[in-house]
């Protein structure tokens, strides 16, 4: 396998890169047992606070902690500038794309994106065709997964335009680090992330329906305590100072959404929903859903309530649509994409499929609608048998898959049992788009694959997280 680019030591053990100079010095000074002690302390803090997540399909591990690594990941101001500009460009294009798909459909008529990719997509919502949304914003909160392969190159790995999660870890990781390593902070100037909830609230209020009062009522809609991200939902509601509601707390009357309070019904203007389209409204989508609110869609279509994110944004998450993102950026903005896409083979196309089948042992193959690291093949890591099984699956339904080269993700120094060692990381920054502006707090959630050599950073597959520092100039 190719040698990975280490964000602290560069390629092939070159000199320590400037952004990491202080951290490197500190790591060489700090005794190993101090690190270990702080590590335990961090775990205790996380458990006390109750930051847990549920892994689906694991009955006995109902509430688990995501491992937290105490060594921060550091980006220089210049590096962040590239990422930030690239993200703004990409999310702007995604919003224009979704608007176009549900209205004029110019991109389909121009033949840039094949129409069947959209209309046969389960995330496409015909109910949204011709539907106006306030200020034409569909994706108010986007989580864009970015990986790095060398000093200059950042790739977008995935666009999460539905209900991206993880931002609570970004915020809590920073809090914990501030508590555990004040001396490390005093050696750096680090851009803050703590204003994220304020920015999110301002974003949500800015897209309230025009009929709402000057101080719109915002709520956060959660599927409930059994959802894997429930902790995050309650954490955010608390920081935002808004009610954390479930479907059963709401009702719709005359196309207006109300919540049941101790003082009677209260009108709701903006719903930051952390529940998938499918479960939003049993009258429109899955009739067996008890999580959502009957009548929500008709209130939404009447323009009496704003949903963030809008319904139907999932088409931008699709991994086959992803492969067209460079063309999408060019189509709407007339610009070259600043953040590259990982080269992607669409198995729906015959010549691509042939290439993929010939090279399965060195490719990563993913389901187009999948997420969370489930159901994918990492060729170089997989056994012969697994590859052959996957080959059969791929041949039966090639449309469901895309393939990418196995990227040599960058590594960061990480505290593991054997000491401090490089481990592969990715980055999920959160992009907020409101009526007047787009805001990205510097940094995001860094996920780290704790197993030596592993490239899978998903928390459901044993990944951990790190605090992400963007240095001030």
């Amino acid at each position: 396998m190719v040698v990975a680019f280490d964000e602290m030591k560069g390629l092939n053990g070159g000199g320590v890169r400037p952004a990491y100079a202080e951290l490197n010095r500190w790591l060489s000074e700090v005794p190993r047992d101090v690190l270990d002690y702080r590590r335990k302390e961090a775990e205790l803090l996380f458990r006390r606070i109750g930051i847990t997540f549920a892994v689906y399909g694991e009955a006995e591990a109902q509430e688990r902690l995501i491992p937290f690594d105490v060594i921060p990941r550091i980006l220089s101001a210049a590096e962040w500038r590239i990422v930030e500009t690239g993200l703004k460009q990409r999310v702007k294009a995604i919003n224009l794309f979704i608007k176009d798909i549900y209205n004029a459909r110019e991109i389909l008529r121009a033949g840039v994106v094949p129409a069947d990719l959209i209309f046969r997509n389960p995330a496409f919502r015909p109910e949204m065709s011709g539907q106006k949304v306030p200020h034409d914003i569909y994706v108010h909160v986007a989580g864009i997964d970015i990986v790095r392969v060398d000093a200059e190159t950042f790739y977008v790995l995935e666009d999460n335009a539905r209900t991206p999660s993880g931002v609570s870890y970004m915020l809590e990781n920073r809090e914990i680090m501030l508590r555990l390593f004040p001396e490390l902070f005093s050696r750096h100037r680090i851009a803050p992330v703590e204003n994220y909830p304020d920015e999110l609230l301002a974003t949500l209020k800015s897209v309230a329906p025009s009929s709402s009062s000057s101080d719109p009522t915002v709520v956060l809609l959660t599927p409930g305590v059994y959802n894997s991200a429930y902790y995050e939902h309650s954490f955010l509601a608390d920081k935002l100072g808004v009610e954390l509601v479930e479907g059963r707390d709401l009702f719709v009357k005359d196309d207006i959404v109300f919540m049941r309070t101790t003082q009677g019904p209260q009108r709701i203007d903006v719903i930051y929903r952390r529940i998938d389209d499918d479960y939003l409204d049993p009258l429109t989508f899955r009739p067996d859903s008890s999580l959502g609110l009957p009548g929500m869609m008709s209130a939404y279509q009447a323009g009496n309530v704003t949903l963030a994110n809008a319904v139907g944004t999932g088409i931008a998450d699709d991994k086959a649509v992803y492969s067209f993102m460079p063309q999408i950026v060019k189509f709407y903005l007339g610009e070259e994409p600043i953040l590259k896409n990982v080269p992607t083979w669409r198995c729906r196309e015959e010549d691509h499929l042939a290439h993929v089948l010939d090279n399965l042992h060195e490719l990563v193959v993913k389901e187009v609608h999948g997420s969370g690291g489930y159901g994918m093949l990492i060729g170089p890591m997989a056994s012969k048998v697994a590859i052959e099984q996957f080959r059969a699956k791929l041949k039966t339904a090639p449309k469901n898959f895309i393939a990418q080269p196995t990227l040599s993700l960058s590594t960061c120094p990480t505290c593991v049992d054997e000491g401090v060692a490089p481990r592969h990381v990715d980055l999920r920054p959160f992009v907020l788009t409101g009526r007047e502006r787009t805001c990205i707090v510097p940094g995001g959630l860094t996920r780290v694959a704790l197993k030596d050599g592993s490239l899978v950073v998903n928390s459901s597959q044993g990944g951990g997280t790190k605090d992400t520092w963007v240095l001030d100039e």
């Binding site: 954490f235 509601a237 919540m259």
Partner: protein, 313 residues
């Protein structure tokens, strides 16, 4: 605030209060059964403990005999008993998790810490010593939760609903003790010189942590009608019915004030308090202590229903 949030807070407090009460009953019963039979009579104190906890019928569906092992298991550790100490803490924690944002960090810490600690007692207590430690720990956990609520919560409707839960539950608990043990408290039960029931009265007081309080209030040895007086009518006794209703009225008034609206719950609570204020012990004995307590339990339940109707649905 959301009705569901208020409902969760109300019940969260009730569960914690109930867990503490169960621990007190078990502790008092342990003491009582440690005495020679000549001091306490031939009654089965373990069966009494189950009725005082208000779950006699559920208990005898599972067990044939009420002995120390069965009763302790059922009231403290059983997962089949939805009102066991374990179940109370588990429900309290699940309520707390559902309303994380309405709790202060300290309250969450108290209830989550209790829940984490509870796992240590996975298969129940192995010895009487461990059981005692457990019961002590239950009471400390409840105090910790209560104290953190008192010291850290904003004085708004969230606090008031959580307090209402404490006092509605507490009133119910005190009344249940009286309901089961009323026969011991009738005036003609006093016998001169080393009464057989002395230790029973002490146990009653102990189960509401009022033994010392009794001596400070009456400054004489235990008299059954005074035990009843202390538990029913004495404002200064924090677990008396009168004191519970002082508080219930106070918090319902606070809610009415903040919401600018009175309702059936306020009226009912004031009615019950007025009746308590106008009662005298001799009058209660004349009309029948048992009937009086029975009516109170019904009224208190009805108030719980009225609070739910008015705010929590």
């Amino acid at each position: 605030m959301l009705s569901r949030t208020a409902d969760n807070l109300f019940w969260l407090s009730r569960y914690v209060e109930r867990a503490e009460y169960l621990a007190r009953i078990l502790e008092a019963t342990q003491r009582l059964t440690a005495l020679p039979l000549a001091y306490v009579g031939e009654t089965n104190e373990w069966a009494t403990a189950v009725s005082t906890a208000g779950c006699a019928s559920a208990f005898f569906e599972v067990y044939d005999e009420a002995n120390e092992e069965n009763v302790t298991d059922f009231l403290a550790f059983s997962t089949a008993n939805s009102s066991s100490i374990r179940s109370c803490f588990e429900q309290a924690r699940s309520n707390a998790r559902a309303v994380r944002t309405a709790l202060t960090m300290e309250m969450w810490d108290a209830i989550n810490g209790t829940w984490l600690e509870l796992k240590r007692y996975g298969n129940g207590a192995t010895s009487r010593e461990e059981c005692s430690r457990f019961l002590r720990w239950v009471q400390e956990s409840s105090l910790r939760y209560d104290g953190s609520a008192y010291r850290t919560m904003l004085r708004n409707d969230a606090y008031w609903f959580s307090r209402l839960g404490v006092y509605v539950e507490r009133a119910d608990n005190t009344a249940r003790i009286l309901d089961v043990k009323y026969h011991l408290l009738l005036p003609d039960n006093e016998r001169i010189g080393g009464p057989l029931d002395y230790f029973q009265w002490a146990a009653i007081l102990r189960s509401v942590s009022a033994l010392t309080a009794y001596h400070w209030v009456y400054r004489e040895s235990l008299k059954p009608w005074q035990v009843a007086d202390l538990l029913i009518l004495k404002d200064e006794m924090p677990r008396s019915l009168a004191s519970c209703y002082e508080n219930i009225v106070r918090y319902l008034d606070a809610i009415a004030g903040a919401y600018g609206r009175q309702g059936p719950a306020q009226r009912q609570a004031r009615g019950i308090r007025t009746r308590l204020q106008n009662s005298r012990m001799d009058g209660i004995f004349q009309r029948g202590l048992h009937e009086y307590i029975g009516e109170f339990i019904t009224e208190n339940n009805r108030l719980g229903g009225a609070i739910t109707q008015q705010f929590l649905l």
